[in-house]
Subunit: 633 residues, 2 copies
């Protein structure tokens, strides 16, 4: 980055402001919900985005953007977001504040030069206002949502999720219209069981069964809780990472907020190199969505990038470091066992998971079993003291069609199933990561194996990519697989950007990847028959049919792009009210016909006996409206 600090800072401030702008025609609304908790009644405020249509209707949609996009809230990224969850956690009385682990320069990759030290100091200064006193479970306590759920306790987090998933179903049901249509379009849940009304008690049941995860570290009070499970809306994760020479908090938080704007339900911070700890302070304190990490990445930095120098002690310390910061879920590659490594020797693309290859390197160097596997229960002890959820990593996922569904992949998957049971014995919330590169005809087998061996623990897949030759367009090649596996039962889809296999995604790549995945997730929700999921489609189709152009733009996934595409062909403001579009033009409009058809249909009923001649003449006379001369431009 050659731009002077000041102008760079300016640029990132501008980008952050762009990411925070309200969507056109939309405003942030909060539904109020009274919840009874063991500690007494509680009011929760669940955010939604309300889109006002030109016909007076209002459509509310699920909203991941938190206080961002709400002009009423001024966010100072150097102080962090408000923490409404703090009182919920405190009220439970099973946690204690304590003097956490103190920051070590190694947490930020260490310093080798005076300049390096100065730089770290400058960046740490930007995190000064973001330091919080960590909490942990009191001795002997278990503070996971799973633990509460199994004891019949409905938490505010569960109530929040219920309200959020329920959305405006009354409106939706009303909007969806006639019974014939609903019967015809009834979804195929393929084993999903989604109730018409979502209650906090039902959410508790899903969490208790391990079918849903609510990633919610007690040290992440800024969180707006969400659930990941096959009976919930399909969620999307976006990966972000620090810039090699980060200009600071505005730049990194800008990436987070940009992801939220385009629909990221969770965000994974995959930062590497220097300043990982400080970057994470910036991210977590400013995130209303769950933050996930792959702790082995930071551990590797602490040992100078030499995998075989990794140790349980360093890894354990890293888990606590990140748990105290408030990370909500950890990718842990504990299923990559020593005996499985040989199974990858004949693969077309070997081991492509970065975490997986780090651990494989460690295992074969020491010829020892994976220390994440041997220390798994110790990891559970840490997770349950903070309610960090497991995302059990698929270190042996296929990196090409050729390696899909091979023994290496499935041997690891079966092991993840065993580890799920172990994690559940500790009441630690758990989800399972999946591939990767899988041709369409082998996707169902992945879902079946996961359901069979992992006991319905939420599946969290990367794509899968359905072909290998789409370099530059892998967000599309993988959105196909993502939509299919989402329909089959996958709970969360990790996005893929156009830069996959080629480079690091920029701002627009992140947007393109997220929109492709919101399409996949919504297609899955519609196919599953998620109640009301289709209401937004019906609303936009009605707008399209009635030539309410602004409504069509605003109901879409990307109003700005839709509007600009329309304007390229028909720029004039008038065209947005015109009862025609650029496809057929003013001379002829296929939509216009239908009114004639309806009139005809009516007339027919009325005068079934009427003579042809009369009718013919009558319509002939009406034919004039059908030929509108084009105005000279």
């Amino acid at each position: 980055m050659n731009a002077p600090e000041s102008s760079a800072a300016q640029r990132f401030a501008t980008e952050l402001a762009e990411a925070c702008a309200p969507f056109p025609g939309s405003r942030k609304v909060h539904t109020q919900q009274a919840v009874t908790t063991p500690q007494g009644p509680l009011k929760i405020h669940v955010p939604m985005r309300e889109i006002a249509l030109s016909n007076g209707e209002r459509v509310s949609v699920y909203d991941c953007t938190g206080p961002y996009t709400d002009p009423a809230v001024a966010v100072d990224v150097r102080r962090g977001l408000p923490g409404p969850r703090a009182e919920w956690v405190a009220a439970r009385g099973d946690t204690e504040a304590y003097t956490g682990r103190s920051h070590d320069v190694q947490d930020d990759g260490g310093v080798r030069t005076p300049q390096g030290a100065a730089r770290l100091e400058a960046l740490r200064a930007q995190a000064a206002g973001l330091q919080r006193t960590p909490r942990r479970a009191k001795a002997g306590a278990n503070v996971t949502q799973l633990h509460y759920a199994r004891r019949g306790i409905v938490t505010p987090e569960m109530a929040f999720v219920a309200e959020r998933e329920m959305g405006q179903r009354e409106w939706m049901a009303a909007h969806l219209g006639n019974a014939e249509r609903e019967a015809r379009l009834r979804g195929d849940g393929r084993g999903a069981r989604i109730p018409a009304v979502i209650t906090p008690e039902w959410v508790r049941g899903e969490v208790a069964a391990g079918r849903a995860v609510i990633p919610a570290n007690i040290n992440h009070p800024e969180l707006e809780p969400m659930a990941i499970g096959r009976n919930f809306l399909v969620k999307v994760n976006a990966n972000i990472g620090n810039s090699a020479l980060s200009s600071g908090v505005e730049e990194e938080v800008g990436k987070l907020v940009w992801s939220l704007r385009w629909g990221a339900d969770t965000v994974m911070d995959l930062s590497t190199g220097n300043h990982i700890h400080t970057t994470r302070d910036w991210i977590v304190r400013n995130s209303p969505v769950p933050i996930g990490t792959v702790p082995i990445y930071q551990a590797l930095e602490k040992v100078g990038g030499v995998a075989e120098d990794l140790s349980w002690a360093i890894f354990r310390d890293t888990l606590i470091e990140q748990a105290e910061q408030g990370v909500d879920y950890f990718t842990i590659h504990a299923g990559l066992r020593l005996p499985f490594i040989n199974l990858t020797a004949d693969r077309r693309t070997g081991i492509v998971s970065r975490g997986g290859s780090i651990l494989a390197k460690w295992c074969i160097t020491h010829h020892k079993e994976n220390f994440l596997y041997t220390h798994f229960e110790e990891i559970c002890e840490i997770m349950k003291a903070y309610d960090v959820s497991f995302s059990l990593g698929d270190g042996l996922r296929p990196g090409s069609l050729a390696d899909a569904n091979d023994e290496a992949q499935f041997a690891e998957l079966r092991t993840l199933g065993e580890l799920t049971k172990l994690a559940w014995q500790h009441d630690v919330q758990t989800m399972i990561e999946g591939p990767g590169h899988v041709p369409m005809h082998l996707i169902q087998a992945n879902m079946d194996e996961q359901l069979k061996h992992c006991h319905e623990a939420p599946f969290y897949t990367l794509g899968p990519l359905t072909i290998d030759i789409a370099a530059g367009y892998d967000h599309i090649a993988s959105a196909i697989g993502a939509a299919m596996i989402g329909w089959m039962g996958t709970a969360m889809l990790c996005y893929v950007t156009p830069k996959e296999h080629l480079g690091l995604p920029d701002r627009d790549d992140v947007k393109q990847g997220l929109i492709a995945y919101k399409i996949a997730a919504h297609a899955a929700d519609v196919a599953k028959g998620h109640p009301g999921a289709r209401a937004r489609d019906d609303a936009i189709s009605a707008a399209r049919f009635e030539f309410r152009w602004e409504d069509q733009f605003n109901l879409g996934l990307d109003p700005d792009t839709a509007r600009s595409y329309h304007d390229e062909t028909l720029p004039k403001e008038a065209a947005k009210h015109a009862h025609f579009c650029s496809m057929c033009g003013p001379k002829f409009c296929s939509m216009k016909i239908t009114q004639d058809v309806r009139d005809y249909s009516e007339a027919q009923k009325k005068e079934a006996e009427a003579g042809m001649a009369a009718k013919s003449a009558e319509f002939k006379a009406a034919g004039g409206e059908f030929y509108i001369p084009i105005q000279p431009a």
Copy 2:
């Protein structure tokens, strides 16, 4: 267009040149094939694109670009392409040249002003070198590929198709490698029956059964024959149309060639307004792929856009006009029957097919049965005299999820099945058009209904779009449905561009739409288990794994974009030979690991008994290569 004629012409000449540039690392090759025909032996030359890899391997891929992208051929768009098929047609001796229907100004929308007349004259002048003497079947003869096929005649067209579909399977088989992998990845044809070796005789059988169509008008000698059928590679169609104020032949042919470059197997000319006939002269004479049209569009222009003024006489004359020009397939909305129109009255989005709504308007105005239905056999008589194939249009396709799979849609589909049988009685080649907007869980039902009622006649679908809310990204929302229905048995996919529902696609939209659909088609071919389809994926995965960056770019669907994405992150030429990528960087590389794993695996076999300590030390020593200090930029 405000640019002066000259600069506009310059721009279009440049764009045409861009579209003709050979792909990086690729060259046009032709396989020679000796064919025995009833008229004696014949040599055919089938084009393919050969990609030379840096490791000495050569990968050949299916090529739609004809003489374009071949530097050895200089194309003059005002004279048209050479016509190798002319001798094949003439040799059959069942056709005759005749003085065709003479050009009527109405064919080009008529002229109302002196300027209009002058403009038409100027544009016609650009078609002067493209006029050909039309041929038709001799009295009583039937010149369709279906007619020959049913009589056991293998035509040069069938032989050409066989060679083209076969491609380099020997190489592919060799490349695909070990048996375990092939068994594991064996496709699921879902009823498709694709032989390991494709012979001209097998192609004949598919055509004879009506399962495949070879659109090949006898007046289109420039054609490189291709087949559309569920047992062939899934094909992609691109729609193009004339510009309101066309600058001339270079502009319109430029759109055609651009579509071919990105993989259009057929192109539909959906021109409207003025100069339709002249534009078609330009397109057909310069097209190596089949050209399809919707004749009702031109007929409507001839009656000033007043649907109720349409008549069989005008329509019939338009069919002959276009058949003489060499159009290979016609979309005919003959299945939209009067009784079905009322079924659309309660739809969310009524009738969205332009052709469908034109005919609905005509039917309800006159309260008469659709004249395309009542005159269907007369249409067949025309089609078989030129071998124009039917693409039976779905005028009642759903325009929203809400209308998917309703009685209006399926009633029309069943009628298309009846018409297919009628067309086959005349030996007229026939394919069936399909939707539209369909949620994932209703796609299989569309395929099942089509197979059941249309007797395996090739299905040709638009998308389907799996959601309605993706305005600006409908190429992605529909690529999901297209990949699925392609796997289920659809033979050709009509592309959707990002401008769908919003405006007219520009040059980049056409490219984006085509690449999304090549992804969908290839994903379907891989899932169906088309022999060798996966070989290109294996080749690119091997290149990816071995850090052969240039090979990875050149084997992809869009080498230029892949290269530019890579260069954004690692611009240096050196990086293209680097044994690492930007995802993990030089300090750590997951791909690099696998070599260690292979060595380890080898070593283990060799010295199963060797002590841990020794091995540990050995790998520790090797660990050095694992930490490569980053060079200062």
